[in-house]
């Protein structure tokens, strides 16, 4: 595949390597060091780092400023952008702002509903949805046009990603939904955390049956459990999350002090199994407030060292 952007992530994927991405959540304050510190821990073990955009609708330092911090460290950031908080004017404007700092990756999302966050009384925007944001970035990049039809003087060069949740309901449209995102112009996918490997493999099979794995790079999402409590919480409280009973049991069957280690074991085993799945082109390791474990996970999964590509 030819690359269309200066994105290093795109180059690694196009070269046929299994890519590794991770993510950092910005702090709830103005301390930019909080981001650079997290990035410092993982930078040699991943190809790109996502910065979340006010995830779960809790107000934080913005993802745009955070990716700039990473860029200034010489790293490869992925700007996450939700359509919940900004209308099309602000979205396009932030895309240009990011591009002006040489940010070359974007992940297009709708975002959690604000009722989950710290401002449930707030208004939401949803001027466009995540699929339409994909279309917007592609229009800006490929045709050099704003949504309003005017020319962009120096179009942003962004490699366009989106999320996919193979486990959300209704299951029968999970693959058509991916097809829809591909039709809109998405180029890479980072999936929801995978714990139900069988169900994921079934989804991938349906993806391959339609040849979709050749049209988009799919990065399998994994998140290590820190404790049995976290496993239960994810199972019962996080919408669209599928954690099988056996996994919860495996976590609760080991003594509390051994649980973090067991969580990492499960994560590494999952990656090893998913490596064998045709169409999986890399991994998105989301170690939630546990970034220091990313190097260990990457190393033990046989994904280290990372390829050097300029």
């Amino acid at each position: 595949m030819n690359t269309k952007t200066p994105s290093r992530l795109e180059k690694i994927l196009a070269a046929g390597h299994l890519a590794v991405t991770s993510e950092c959540g910005p702090p709830r304050g103005s301390n930019g060091d909080a981001i650079t510190k997290k990035a410092e821990m993982i930078k040699d073990y991943v190809d790109a780092i996502n910065i979340t955009d006010n995830q779960t609708s809790v107000t934080r330092l913005c993802s745009l400023a955070s990716v700039i911090h990473l860029k200034l460290m010489g790293l490869e950031p992925v700007l996450q952008m939700v359509t919940r908080d900004r209308n099309r004017i602000a979205l396009q404007s932030d895309i240009l702002g990011a591009a002006s700092f040489g940010i070359n990756n974007i992940l297009c999302l709708s975002g959690d509903h604000q009722s989950f966050g710290d401002n449930p009384q707030g208004q939401n925007v949803f001027d466009i949805d995540s699929i339409q944001l994909i279309q917007t970035v592609r229009l800006m990049r490929d045709e050099g046009k704003f949504l309003g039809g005017d020319d962009i003087d120096q179009p942003p060069k962004m490699f366009v990603g989106a999320a996919a949740n193979p486990f959300a309901d209704p299951f029968e449209i999970r693959v058509p939904r991916l097809a829809k995102k591909i039709a809109a112009g998405v180029e890479f996918i980072q999936t929801q955390c995978i714990y139900n490997l069988e169900k994921f493999e079934l989804w991938m099979k349906q993806v391959r049956d339609r040849g979709l794995h050749e049209k988009v790079y799919i990065l399998a999402g994994v998140t290590p459990f820190k404790s049995a409590g976290m496993a239960k919480y994810m199972k019962n409280r996080v919408p669209g999350m599928d954690v099988p009973d056996e996994v919860v049991k495996r976590m609760s069957d080991v003594p509390k002090e051994k649980q973090p280690e067991e969580g990492i074991n499960i994560c590494v085993e999952s990656i090893q199994r998913l490596k064998e799945v045709e169409g999986v082109r890399g991994f998105h390791v989301m170690a939630i407030e546990w970034e220091e474990k990313v190097p260990e996970i990457v190393e033990r999964s046989g994904l280290y060292p990372r390829p050097k590509i300029e």
């Binding site: 919940r84 099309r88 709708s110 975002g111 959690d112 509903h113 009722s115 989950f116 939401n124 949803f126 001027d127 466009i128 949805d129 995540s130 699929i131 339409q132 279309q135 917007t136 949504l147 999320a163 996919a164 949740n165 959300a168 309901d169 209704p170 029968e172 449209i173 058509p176 939904r177 097809a179 829809k180 039709a183 809109a184 929801q192 919408p239 669209g240």
Partner: protein, 222 residues
């Protein structure tokens, strides 16, 4: 219809606490159907207000009238001759009626007795739910007759989001996921492949975003 519910009594009392004589105006349309501002509710509110005043050792004279509609000049004119006798009016119409009444009678304070909630249906006796947000550019033809603008918490035009679980919305287990409903209905219609058609970015200028809206029909104008 327009669905509304009565404001807390305390709030209503607050509007008229210094009055001695007020007029309560109900409406015979939507708010009667949803038991919020019809003749009966006017009567109950009148009693409640009088009692609340009596309890404080005060007296409140309340006249009750229920108009056919409060969103038409014709019916609002019916109170022209009496309105000056009152220190204030509480309208139990939707926000439309309250405003039209206020626009017409400039010298009498008009207060809302209801909170106007949404445009919706009677799902079953005593249960109402939203169906339309009046976006001015109906897309029901593309969404199997189910409106994601009024019924999806994120008004996604190309849903569902990743939070849809067991047919319910991520924000509330009591709420149907609009996109599950759309997909179920597409299946019933044998048109599931339509799901993959991308719905383009919406022009919201016909919605609230475009400013207050107005329709003029020259053929009907006098």
């Amino acid at each position: 219809m327009i669905v509304a519910e009565r404001k807390p009594i305390d709030e209503i009392i607050g509007f008229v606490k210094n009055c001695k004589k007020i007029l309560l105006v109900g409406c015979n349309e939507c708010v009667t159907v949803c038991y919020a501002g019809g003749k009966k509710e006017v009567g109950v509110l009148a009693s409640a207000l009088k009692m609340a005043f009596m309890k404080e050792g005060k007296e409140l004279e309340v006249e009750e009238v229920t108009l056919e509609r409060q969103c038409d000049h014709e019916y609002l004119e019916e109170i022209r001759n009496i309105i000056d006798q009152y220190e204030a009016v509480i309208s139990l119409a939707c926000g439309v009626g309250v405003q039209f009444l206020a626009e017409k009678y400039l010298t009498t304070p008009v207060f809302p007795g209801l909170n106007t909630s949404f445009m919706g249906v009677t799902e079953e006796s005593g249960v109402w739910s939203e169906r339309c947000q009046g976006c001015g550019q109906c897309i029901l033809g593309q969404t199997a007759g189910i409106c994601p603008i009024s019924r999806c918490a994120k008004r996604l035009l190309n849903g569902p989001c990743g939070g849809s679980t067991d047919g319910k919305c991520e924000i509330n287990k009591e709420l149907d996921c609009a996109w599950q409903l759309i997909i179920d209905r597409l299946k019933e219609l044998g048109r599931l492949e339509d799901y993959e058609k991308l719905i383009p970015i919406k022009d919201w200028s016909t919605e609230r975003a475009g400013g207050p809206r107005k329709i003029v029909r020259e053929d009907l104008k006098s």
